[in-house]
């Protein structure tokens, strides 16, 4: 088995063992979760180092035959594999999944109330981590499908079990939205595999050119077929179906409503995990299959994508400005960032695609960091509402300082990951859609407006009414340092030395848009 397969197997095993633990043994579950997270991080570092010399192509692949659907296509069998591997596009995002899952596990394990539903907490987090890591590691469509579903179910249970108040209903919203999303996504992707084999076109031409139905993702990515094999109409519909799925999965306006509903009530480590990586799966699938398999459709629907991107940027920004508390602000800020992601993809340029990839990482890191820190404020002061906060800098200087760092990253300050992602996206979008890009620039101003407003209300000024409660509350605790330092360091690392990601994303962007410029 390859290293990448182990990154899925280890948390999966930890989860499966946890199922059979007695409920009282939550300490064991906790230890299992932490150890398995640490092991996956080590694996990610190994893959990173071993593959660095040759970023292109798939790395650390492994494939186990799973089952075969006999006589499925033109008389041949379809072999379904349990196969894993990463390439220049997925490797950094797969690493992000591992990092965010590990940080979430740490945060879940060090929360004051970690014994509360301790077994379920680690069970679902382990399974969810295996799922979300698997989404980025899968190189077989069926494996991908299973990983998507595992992520969905785990996310549902985590939100359902670890939310306060009305937010439990939000778990159902998440399930319906993301459940439907996965139906659309998988149908679209399987449809693409089917189309590439000639299913919608001239089957004899397809047979002559050697096109076969396969679930193997690297093979799919290398298939080139002409319009007679895969008609443009079918491509368009499949792309739109994929896009619909991505919008629900990714929580993009107007199909985003599950996201603020969930984050309004979930515990901070759940929000960290959801905002940090689970909401990035849709973006990855759009790049992998939308741009990877149907690059012509990205160009064809570019204007639509661009408009939707700008709508998301501005809607997200204004909704974040109108937010009354941190949870909603961070949620809509993340939606606004992913709007820029769409605009970058829409440009169908290498710079835009590279910016879009950077944005996945940057938005993941910053959303996770901000959810965690805002949760820290809430845990101490008892509220996350701006009208009750104020003056935190004097009693909680470290927490305030890191919160400011996160906010500055999210507003795209240079030397943080936010800036380098944004400028690359704009470098692409200004080439293709200069008019839309000028409008999108408003997002840069608005992000400064809402984030600095939030900072002013939270950390600056005179102590707010809620601050009385913090007298005696400790600044960052030892356990909190771990997520905060790791995430901040990553945000700064990408910002100061972007080649660390560019090393992978540059060839990935070049390979992605074979037809684009």
């Amino acid at each position: 088995m390859g290293l990448v397969a182990w990154s899925v197997a280890i948390p999966l095993l930890a989860g499966l063992v946890t199922i059979f633990l007695p409920s009282r043994a939550c300490g064991v579950a906790r230890a299992l979760s932490l150890v398995s997270s640490l092991l996956t991080v080590v694996l990610a570092i190994c893959v990173w180092v071993l593959s660095a010399a040759q970023p292109a192509g798939f790395h650390a692949q492994s494939s186990l035959p799973w089952f075969t659907l006999p006589n499925l296509w033109q008389g041949t069998d379809l072999a379904v594999h349990l196969s894993f591997g990463v390439d220049a596009l997925s490797l950094p995002i797969w690493s992000l999944a591992i990092l965010i899952s590990a940080v979430a596990a740490w945060a879940a394990a060090t929360a004051d109330d970690w014994r509360e539903r301790g077994k379920l907490r680690f069970l679902w987090l382990d399974l969810g981590s295996a799922g979300v890591i698997g989404v980025f590691a899968a190189t077989d469509l069926f494996t991908l499908l299973v990983a998507v579903e595992l992520t969905l179910v785990s996310a549902f249970f985590l939100v359902h079990l670890f939310s306060r108040g009305a937010a439990r209903g939000a778990a159902l919203q998440l399930l319906i939205y993301r459940g439907l999303a996965s139906v659309f996504l998988i149908t679209a992707i399987v449809g693409m595999a089917y189309g590439l084999a000639g299913g919608f076109g001239d089957a004899t031409v397809a047979a002559q050119s050697g096109a076969v139905l396969t679930f193997d993702i690297p093979k799919l990515l290398s298939q080139h077929v002409d319009a007679s094999v895969f008609p443009a109409v079918a491509r368009s519909w499949l792309f739109l179906l994929l896009l619909l799925g991505v919008f629900m999965e990714e929580a993009l306006v107007p199909l985003h409503s599950w996201y603020p509903a969930v984050t309004a009530g979930a515990e901070r480590w759940v929000n960290l995990w959801l905002g940090g990586i689970v909401t990035k799966t849709g973006a990855y699938l759009l790049l992998r299959f939308g741009a990877g398999l149907l690059p012509d459709q990205v160009q064809h629907w570019g204007a639509l994508l661009g408009w939707l991107g700008v709508i998301n940027i501005l809607y997200g920004a204004f909704a974040a400005w109108g937010a009354s508390g941190w949870r909603r602000l961070v949620t809509f800020s993340s939606i606004s960032h992913m709007g820029l992601f769409l605009l970058g993809v829409a440009s169908a340029t290498t710079a835009g695609a590279q910016g879009a990839m950077f944005l996945i990482i940057s938005s993941g890191l910053l959303t996770a960091l901000l959810f965690f820190l805002a949760g820290g404020v809430e845990a101490r002061v008892g509220t996350e509402r701006f009208d009750k906060l104020g003056g935190l800098s004097s009693s909680l200087p470290l927490l305030s300082g890191f919160l400011l760092t996160g906010a500055l990253g999210a507003l795209g300050l240079p030397l943080t990951s936010g800036f380098i992602s944004e400028i690359q996206a704009f470098m692409g979008s200004f080439r293709t859609y200069p008019g839309l890009s000028f409008v999108a620039l408003l997002g840069l101003i608005l992000s400064a407006v809402y984030l600095l407003y939030a900072m002013e209300r939270t950390t600056f000024g005179r102590p707010g009414p809620a601050l009385e409660a913090t007298q005696g509350a400790a600044d960052l605790t030892g356990a909190e340092w771990v997520p905060v330092l790791i995430l901040t360091a990553m945000v700064l690392l990408v910002g100061v030395w972007p080649s660390v990601l560019g090393h992978w994303f540059n060839p990935a962007a070049g390979a992605l848009l074979r037809i684009g410029g």
């Binding site: 499925l72 459940g179 909704a319 290498t350 600095l452 000024g461």
Partner: protein, 637 residues
């Protein structure tokens, strides 16, 4: 060696960031001053031996598509002069701060921010490409934000910090777009490649090309300068930024960061020189700013705000010079202004320090005897600002006025003269109110005293510079600074330009010199008449005689109110709409949809029993069915 110029302040920043809280005040300040002093020495060496202008040392930073972006240092005469000014003023202000900030509980944090600022500012003026310049451009903005809000517990400081960042960001967004468009049209972020591409006949993008694109890009870049250098209509942040500690005002909001906009236009001058429309815009924005700010400064009561508006006005002067094509004169004024304006703030800080934080001019008076060093150094700076022969400001201001008149900008020359009159008036109004006459508040006066040597030495050094810095560019010496700066022309720093492109040189005219001197003296005379020792109630009488004009000036032409009731209100309104829309409209649609699903679907009703495990099963099953259908169809065909 060039790397070490910003390198030492960066090291000082790292030390104060990591262990600053545990170090004693003199150690923290000592590290910072030493690091900056080394930078100053290195900058001086660079100034004397700038090497080949345009020489670049850089590292690979990122590859985007086919574009390799570097990160490095570029030297030239302009950059060396800027590094010299920045490191010199920084050293003096860091030393002064030792006294001014003594005892502040966040003393080490203050130095930490200032070290970061000095690093960023030096990086900015030595940047090897546009993207890097933008990075440092935003970093100095960050430092400004942190330092304006340094006393974060004051609500005014918190608001001012936010305002300064957001208003400058509006301009920065223009610069951002300009840089991206220049990259698209030239394929590079490097200055020489950009300049060469702009001069080539094929310069353009699909939707705009040639001179139209050059004008658009130049104006976008200038928008960045408008924000950073507090030019009309984005000048409103700078006076509020006076909420920061006064040494910060001296360094960041007078001598260095706010001059970065002028540096930017100078750095991009070959681009501006290609567009008459862009240059005209620069000149007129500069002119309007110079006059507007000077008119506002006439009536302000707060000692720091008067000087802040003066800064805005003088930056407008520099922009006027650049817009009129007098590149070297604009930079020369930046050079002299850095010293006398930093000194005005340091002396104002000394006054505020002596009066226990009082900034209202109408509670001061008679301080000349109590604060002799401050008084004499302030007087030197005020005379330099007013443009009195032979102090530094005289030479640079007069050069600009000469260039305006000789260049055929008659109206702007008149604007410059009126501004010069106002400038002389408001700065001597301040002088007479603070230092002359009798104390207006005896209690404050009784406690007034000079700060220690750490505060007076920087004042004296700057005082000497305020007097003499202009002598470096007199007709007698043959305009050494001009010749020095024009040495960049035609090199890879200003690729494809000749000396004529980047700077017209105008002969001095003694008559014009006398006119501007007389105007300045008239301003001082009026100030003495209205606010001098025997002025009685003349100022009050003049204010009531001026009526609405006085109020317009006092209320800063109501620009803050206009912005508040238009842009800001519209934005807040949209934010509220978006929030409401999201909370109620979209949420209720979702709610309705889910209710309808419940009513219709027996499957989902089953799930309501609480058997949550079945959700996953149902979701997965649905997929299997879909895949099976797809497979089946594939098999049949």
């Amino acid at each position: 060696m060039v790397w070490w110029i910003p390198g030492f302040p960066l090291i000082a920043f790292a030390i104060t960031l990591l262990v600053g809280r545990r170090l004693a005040e003199p150690v923290v300040a000592g590290i910072a001053v030493m690091a900056t002093l080394i930078s100053f020495v290195l900058s001086t060496i660079l100034l004397l031996h700038p090497g080949t202008p345009g020489a670049v040392t850089q590292l690979d930073w990122l590859t985007v598509g086919q574009t390799h972006i570097g990160f490095g240092m570029q030297t030239s005469h302009l950059n060396a002069l800027m590094a010299f000014v920045v490191s010199l003023v920084s050293t003096l202000v860091l030393l002064y701060s030792r006294g001014y900030m003594a005892g502040d509980e966040r003393f080490s944090v203050y130095y930490q921010y200032l070290n970061l600022f000095v690093f960023s500012m030096l990086g900015l003026v030595l940047s090897a490409n546009l993207l890097e310049l933008y990075i440092f451009w935003e970093m100095v903005g960050l430092c400004s934000y942190l330092l304006v809000g340094f006393w974060f517990f004051k609500p005014e400081a918190a608001l001012a910090a936010k305002k300064s960042f957001i208003v400058t960001r509006i301009g920065d967004t223009g610069l951002f777009a300009g840089i991206v468009l220049l990259w698209l049209a030239s394929g590079s972020f490097n200055f020489d490649a950009v300049f060469q591409a702009a001069q080539s006949p094929g310069f353009g993008l699909g939707w705009l090309s040639g001179s139209g694109l050059i004008t658009l890009v130049a104006i976008l870049v200038f928008l960045g300068a408008v924000g950073k250098s507090a030019q009309f209509p984005l000048h409103v942040w700078l006076p509020d930024a006076m909420e920061g500690p006064t040494p910060v005002s001296a360094l960041i909001h007078a001598a260095t960061m706010v001059a970065a906009g002028v540096y930017l236009v100078a750095r991009m001058f070959p681009l501006f020189a290609l567009s008459h429309a862009a240059l005209t815009t620069v000149a007129w924005i500069g002119g309007v700013t110079a006059l507007l700010a000077a008119l506002i400064a006439l009536t302000q009561r707060d000692i720091k705000r008067v000087i802040a508006y003066s800064t805005v006005s003088q930056l407008g002067y520099m922009m006027m010079a650049l817009g009129a094509g007098a590149y070297a004169y604009g930079v020369f004024h930046l050079f002299t202004h850095a010293f006398f304006k930093a000194l005005l703030f340091l002396t104002a800080g000394s006054v505020i320090h002596a009066l226990g934080g009082e900034q209202d001019l109408f509670k001061m008076g008679g301080l000349a005897g109590k604060l002799p060093i401050t008084r004499w150094t302030f007087l030197a700076a005020a005379l330099a600002l007013a443009g009195i022969f032979p102090l530094s400001g005289f030479w640079s201001k007069d050069a600009i006025l000469t260039a305006l008149l000789a260049g055929g900008h008659g109206i702007l020359y008149a604007v410059g003269l009126i501004t010069a009159f106002c400038t002389a008036f408001y700065i001597f109004r301040l002088y007479f109110l603070a230092f002359a006459g009798t104390p207006r508040d005896e209690a404050l006066y009784a406690h007034a005293h000079e700060g220690g040597w750490v505060m007076t030495v920087p004042q004296v050094v700057l005082g000497v510079l305020a007097v003499m810095a202009g002598w470096w560019n007199t007709p007698i010496g043959g305009h050494p600074i001009e010749r020095y700066l024009l040495g960049d022309a035609g090199t890879s720093f200003f690729a494809g330009t000749s000396a004529g492109d980047i700077g017209h040189v105008y002969p001095e005219n003694v008559l014009w010199m006398v006119i501007s001197l007389v105007v300045a003296l008239a301003g001082i005379g009026l100030a003495a008449w209205m606010y001098g020792a025997r002025a009685d109630q003349r100022a009050a009488a003049a204010a009531s005689a001026a009526g609405p004009l006085y109020r317009v000036s006092l209320r800063k032409f109501y620009l803050d109110e206009i912005y508040e009731s238009s842009v800001v209100r519209a934005g807040k309104w949209l934010a509220r709409i978006a929030d409401g829309l999201d909370r109620f409209v979209i949420q209720s649609i979702v709610y309705l949809a889910s209710r309808m699903t419940y009513a219709a679907g027996w499957g989902l009703r089953l799930l309501q029993t609480g058997q949550v495990q079945t959700y996953g099963v149902v979701a997965a099953l649905g997929l299997f069915v879909l895949i099976a259908i797809a497979m089946l169809r594939g098999g049949v065909m």
